[in-house]
């Protein structure tokens, strides 16, 4: 076990997989000589060379297209889109190629690619650099969508994503890169498609993604002091969703809050809430509460920005409401 930052855990997965499998290549903007704007790809070019670790031009469509084309021919590309706000620039490649071709061309091809990106508000990065767009990609069939919260999961899930024969969109969070946690040394794989119970509880299930998991854990502390035992579930894989873990929890607690940093209307929380409503209907003692960002672009000034996203206080209030 080592105590690593989230960014270091990602780095360790990349290094180990690139050593293990020479078909793994890395490319994106500033990932080569600079080592990435969040330093996730630090020194990779130095160890693995300029063929396998490339700086691309500022061309998101091509970053995605390169990944898909190369994956089709036997490589395992790990491409980076610097901000999830730029992901829509390559949405055509994701939607009309990565999703479509394996379905249409069947066994003729495999697309074992990973598209890494990061999002999240609160850093004062402005409206065009602070989004959470998982709902957009989770909507697309054939893609796997992963959002690790802890450093250990960052390493384990990235390793699993690299080894996965399907295209994986791997969404990190700018506030998670510097968080610390215990990370197993050596080979560490976390199964894609499994949620995790981060804190057991009996009174209310809080299902959250990415940074919102940490916010929910803080809320759980406050709630515990009020006698409300919240169970926190980290979704981890948004698609395919581990409904079994979530439903089993709601069957015990009878109350549920979903917390996601994307915009509330039509957001990922809506899919969670609908699924829970369908599968756990007879167990609910209160409506499913849904927390998301206010339906507006992220404003720059701090009090405005922070007011638009869920936080522990809002989660606590929602939980108290459910207990009435």
């Amino acid at each position: 076990m080592a105590e690593l930052r989230y960014a270091e855990a990602l780095h360790s997965a990349l290094v180990e997989e690139m050593r293990r499998d020479e078909s793994v290549i890395v490319f994106g903007e500033d990932v080569g000589s600079y080592g990435g704007v969040f330093k996730v790809t630090k020194d990779l070019q130095h160890e693995f060379g300029r063929d396998r670790v490339r700086d691309t031009p500022i061309s998101e469509q091509i970053i995605a297209g390169l990944a898909i084309g190369a994956a089709m021919m036997g490589l395992k590309p790990v491409a980076e889109i610097m901000y999830v706000d730029f992901l829509p620039l390559c949405l055509d490649q994701l939607l009309n190629q990565a999703s479509v071709l394996p379905f249409i061309w069947g066994d003729q091809i495999r697309l074992p690619l990973v598209l890494r990106t990061q999002g999240g508000a609160g850093a004062g990065a402005g409206a065009q650099h602070s989004k959470s767009l998982e709902a957009m990609v989770a909507h697309i069939p054939g893609l796997k969508i992963v959002m690790p919260t802890t450093p250990a999961d960052a390493k384990g899930l990235l390793t699993a994503a690299i080894r996965d024969p399907n295209p994986v969109v791997f969404i990190e969070h700018k506030f998670l890169y510097n968080t610390r946690g215990s990370v197993p040394e050596g080979e560490h794989v976390v199964e894609i498609g499994k949620a995790a119970i981060m804190r057991p509880g009996t009174d209310v299930t809080i299902v959250a993604t990415s940074r919102m998991v940490l916010e929910s854990l803080k809320a759980a502390e406050t709630l515990a002091a009020e006698g409300i035992a919240a169970e926190i579930i980290d979704v981890r894989t948004l698609r395919p969703l581990d409904t079994a873990t979530i439903i089993e929890s709601v069957q015990r607690t009878h109350r549920c809050i979903v917390v996601n940093e994307g915009w509330r209307f039509g957001g990922y929380g809506a899919e969670l809430a609908a699924t829970i409503g369908e599968l756990a209907f007879g167990y609910l003692d209160a409506p499913i509460a849904r927390l998301g960002a206010l339906d507006m672009p992220v404003p720059y000034s701090q009090p405005l920005e922070l007011a638009t996203i869920p936080n522990p206080e809002k989660i606590v209030i929602a939980a108290r409401n459910l207990m009435r």
């Binding site: 031009p57 061309s59 190369a70 021919m73 190629q97």
Partner: protein, 323 residues
């Protein structure tokens, strides 16, 4: 093949062009009889580009195509009957009826593949070429696109990175004068796309796309450059589509004089005359008959093939196991 086909190879290339033309006409007939689904993009008049630019490729070389790819498919070696079955949505098609004419792929033949998004295959082509480069293979990618696609963002990004990284891609721009119903002069800031080759740091060549031998020669040169590790090339093949943009085109925007001009430069009669001179009418007539037979058999095969079962839709969403 060298930069020019041998007489036997020339004859076979003519036969392939004839197959494409007869296939397009058969599709037209079926469409009029109400037996086809959705709009189909015929390439009548452009056969020399697709057949000529694929003639010298190996099986392991890859071709990416567009929405108007029937000549590309036949040129790269996709079986005529499985192609026709795919166009008719049959379970015996190259993609089990899931793709239709715009999304045909045949891994064995190196066709990867059709694409219904204008310019959408160009990013894939550079990705495929990247793999060849990293794997240190001598294979190449031939990427077809049109003068319409030459204006889309993906095209510029693809050509830039191909020129920058010297990827083994041959970009073949089939300039057929139209992007849907709008003429090229109202879509492109330059009338000759080849001018942009220099802008992407690669050599360019403009040719008569309806001259089979010219297409063959230019592409061969570019393919050899790529195999030697010297990077990408751009070939602009001037050609023309004799029919509308698809079977749903109501027409009216191609002036009669223009149509007549290009009909007189139809690549098939042109190639035919050359062959008649070298091997005689009887031989060429036999090629025509053989092509007709193959197309008839392909159509019959397609119409007799079953449609896929909806049970197929129950297969899981993802590929299982590890990569």
């Amino acid at each position: 093949m060298q930069n020019a086909p041998s007489p036997e190879q020339h004859a076979l290339l003519y036969r392939k062009m004839k197959i494409v033309r007869l296939l397009e006409e058969a599709i037209g007939k079926l469409h009029r009889e109400g037996k086809t689904r959705g709009p189909i993009h015929r390439c009548d008049g452009q056969e020399a580009v697709g057949i000529g630019a694929t003639a010298m490729l190996e099986r392991e070389d890859i071709v990416t195509s567009s929405h108007r790819g029937h000549a590309h498919y036949i040129g790269k070696g996709v079986a005529t009957d499985r192609l026709m079955a795919e166009i008719m949505g049959r379970a015996t098609g190259t993609c089990r009826g899931r793709g239709g004419h715009m999304l045909v792929a045949d891994r064995e033949a190196g066709m990867l593949g059709g694409c219904g998004i204008v310019g959408g295959a160009l990013p894939l082509a550079v990705g495929q070429a990247l793999a060849f480069q990293v794997q240190k293979k001598a294979n190449v990618v031939v990427a077809f696109y049109g003068d319409g696609a030459a204006q889309i963002g993906a095209c510029h990004e693809a050509l830039n990175v191909a020129g920058l990284w010297k990827l083994p891609v041959v970009f073949v721009c089939e300039h057929n004068e139209y992007g849907l119903t709008v003429p090229a002069r109202e879509q492109s800031s330059v009338s000759d796309i080849v001018l942009r080759a220099a802008g992407y740091g690669m050599p360019g060549e403009m040719i008569d796309g309806n001259d089979l031998l010219a297409v063959h020669a230019a592409t061969s040169r570019a393919v050899q450059r790529a195999r030697r590790g010297e990077g990408s090339s751009l070939i602009e093949a001037k050609t023309y589509r004799l029919l509308g943009f698809s079977t749903s085109d109501v027409g009216g925007y191609q002036p009669a004089s223009e149509l007549a001009h290009w009909a007189s430069r139809d690549p098939i009669p042109r190639t035919r005359s050359l062959l008649v001179k070298t091997m005689g009418e009887r031989h060429v007539a036999a090629l025509d008959a053989s092509a007709a037979e193959e197309v008839d058999a392909a159509v019959a095969f397609a119409l007799a093939s079953p449609l896929p079962s909806i049970d197929e839709l129950d297969a899981g969403e993802y590929v299982q196991g590890t990569a």
